[in-house]
């Protein structure tokens, strides 16, 4: 009898399901008055996401999204939308790409970066909501991660500098903040943080 080599789909069944039947999509013409909107990524980078949230009693009561991107990006945003509805703002802010990826049953390694935009867009939407309503934003500062310990430079500082077009590479960052000029052991992480911020903010070299 001939031996058969039947192909498996490149992603898990859960990814396939969310890719084919996306949940909570922001349909054109739909009445959805978002209380907060977040957008990350850019078309030039190959993926871009927009998330709109409704907030009621400190919880996300409803959510809509749009994604330009590959199957992983679409499925990640769709899964994120299911997870985020019903969460408190605090919980939503702490939703990690890993949690989304686990729910999807995993992604191929080279696709990890496609899943980081969903939760970032969600956080941006929460930020937008708090700002619009003149509410304090305790989450943002809390979630900052120090990358350069010698000079106390966080991922959020890097993101801000990248967003203001002041930083495109490690040299720019070092001259502005001194990051990486102490012990120097954080240089690779700084570079990664700059690249990730450029990707999220849709900046190209």
């Amino acid at each position: 009898m001939a031996q058969s080599f039947m192909a498996q789909w490149v992603y898990t069944d859960v990814v396939k399901d969310h890719f084919m039947n996306p949940r909570n999509l922001w349909k054109e013409g739909e009445e959805f008055e978002a209380d907060g909107v977040g957008e990350v990524g850019s078309l030039a980078c190959g993926d871009q996401m927009r998330v709109g949230i409704k907030v009621k009693d400190g919880k996300i009561s409803d959510l809509r999204w749009l994604t330009y991107g590959c199957a992983s990006a679409i499925a990640s945003t769709s899964m994120m939308s299911e997870m985020a509805i019903g969460m408190t703002l605090d919980e939503a802010y702490k939703l990690t790409p890993k949690a989304i990826m686990d729910k999807l049953g995993g992604l191929p390694e080279h696709k990890f970066h496609c899943s980081v935009l969903g939760d970032k867009a969600l956080r941006a939407a929460v930020d937008d909501y708090l700002e619009k309503n003149n509410l304090p934003n305790p989450y943002k500062a809390e979630s900052a991660v120090i990358i350069c310990e010698c000079k106390n430079v966080t991922d959020q500082m890097i993101e801000k500098l990248v967003s203001e077009d002041k930083v495109k590479n490690l040299e720019d960052l070092a001259s502005l903040t001194g990051a990486g000029t102490g012990c120097g052991k954080c240089k690779i992480k700084l570079k990664e943080a700059i690249e990730e911020a450029m990707h999220i903010l849709g900046k190209t070299n």
Binding site: V10, F19, M20, P22, L25, K27, E28, E39, L43, A44, C45, G46, D47, Q48, M49, R50, L66, T67, Y68, G69, C70, A71, S72, A73, I74, H110, K111, H113, C114, H199, T204
Partner: protein, 388 residues
């Protein structure tokens, strides 16, 4: 899956039934072609028949055909021949190649550059065609090799290789062309082009995988590239892969005999697909050329703004339609197709590019089916997209 419509013939082709048959018929031809006994001589006879067929296809002498594992090996080999000469002190130490060559050349170039060799790329214009005036400007007496592909795998653009070879020769440099995508689709004559070296792979023209040819014009530089035996005049050692070589011989014969008819049929289907897409899908961009003399007949590269390539590919796959994309997401890098970017295509459009490549076994029904399934897929993906 009910139906498979294979539109990825530039990636690889299915073997022709005639090829499968001749390989099966000769499955018991196990003699070592280097042996003097009858079994060995039978294998030798078959291999030399195949050599004759391949040389007839590209208008060379049989003695100029070297069997290799495929075009990647052939391309690597040509660059290494000149690396050897530069190492030996040849004053000609510059290599030029087009910016849209296959990775088998581009990556070899990057490797050589990392080792300190002078390898430079020649730009292409907005359609992806080599800028001959730029090539001429970059040429001098230090250039040893110019490498330009005959036809591009992604855009289908046919390069002006004959003129590029003339320019190379005018300055005393040798000329290599990677004809992998062109073989079996358009006439390729090494004599007409003036090629000193040519690379090709059997699996792109309905032959088996893992076998190909390096054509080396008689009298041009060559150094042994696989050591360990006297095969291929001592340049490429290794016991002959009888069945694959025979299969390639048959594929070459079929390609030569059917060339004109197949070209016209592929172009007809390609144009039917192009016009159908333009009619049925709003806002599309055709990449490359729509001039029959400047485009490989089966290749159609299209960008769909606001729809990302991998998503299109996977939705089409669900319907049994197999294509490829220049999107970065599908390749695992963050940069989309360098071939499309080199021709000046906008990054976003490159992310949303799909390559349809038709082949011998595609039919009008395949094109009709694709034209039926594609428009709603693009519409759905665009509805999910971050439109303004």
């Amino acid at each position: 899956m009910d139906r498979i419509v294979y539109l990825d013939n530039n990636a690889t082709t299915q073997m022709a039934q005639e090829v499968i048959e001749i390989m099966a018929e000769n499955a018991d031809l196990y003699g070592n072609a280097s042996s003097m006994h009858t079994l060995g001589r039978s294998s030798y006879t078959a291999i030399e028949w195949a050599r004759g067929e391949v040389s007839a296809l590209i208008d060379s002498d049989p003695g100029e055909i070297y069997f290799v594992s495929g075009a990647s090996e052939a391309n690597n080999t040509v660059f290494n021949v000149f690396r050897d000469r530069i190492d030996a002190g040849d004053k000609r130490d510059r290599i030029l190649l087009s910016s849209v060559e296959h990775p088998a050349s581009i990556e070899t170039m990057k490797y050589l550059v990392s080792k300190g060799y002078k390898v430079e790329t020649v730009p292409v214009d907005g359609t992806g065609e080599l800028k001959l005036d730029e090539l001429e400007k970059m040429m001098d007496e230090d250039v040893c090799l110019v490498s330009v592909m005959t036809g591009n795998n992604e855009s289908g653009v046919i390069q002006p290789v004959k003129k590029a070879a003339e320019i190379a020769h005018k300055y005393g440099a040798y000329f290599h062309t990677d004809a992998t995508q062109a073989i079996g689709k358009i006439p390729v004559s090494v004599k007409d082009i003036g090629a000193d070296y040519l690379s090709m792979s059997a699996h792109k023209f309905y032959g088996p995988k893992g076998i190909g040819v390096l054509f080396v014009k008689k009298g041009v530089p060559l150094s042994p590239f696989v050591h360990g035996g006297h095969q291929e005049k001592g340049y490429r050692a290794g016991t002959y892969n009888n069945q694959s070589i025979i299969g390639m011989g048959k594929a070459a014969e079929l390609a030569r005999v059917n060339l004109k008819r197949e070209h016209d049929e592929l172009w007809r289907l390609r144009e039917k697909l192009r016009k159908g897409i333009e009619e049925r899908v709003p806002n599309v961009v055709i990449n490359g050329s729509n001039d029959e003399n400047k485009c490989l007949p089966g290749t159609l590269n299209v960008s769909f703004p606001s729809a990302e390539g991998e998503s299109i590919l996977l939705y089409l796959d669900m319907e049994g339609i197999e294509v490829s994309t220049g999107s970065a997401c599908a390749s695992g890098s963050l940069e989309p197709s360098y071939v499309l970017l080199a021709a000046g295509l906008d990054v976003e459009l490159a992310h949303g590019s799909i390559r349809f490549s038709l082949g011998r076994y595609n039919t009008d029904e395949d094109v009709d089916y694709t034209l039926e399934k594609l428009p709603p897929i693009i519409k759905k993906i665009r509805e999910m997209s971050t439109r303004k």
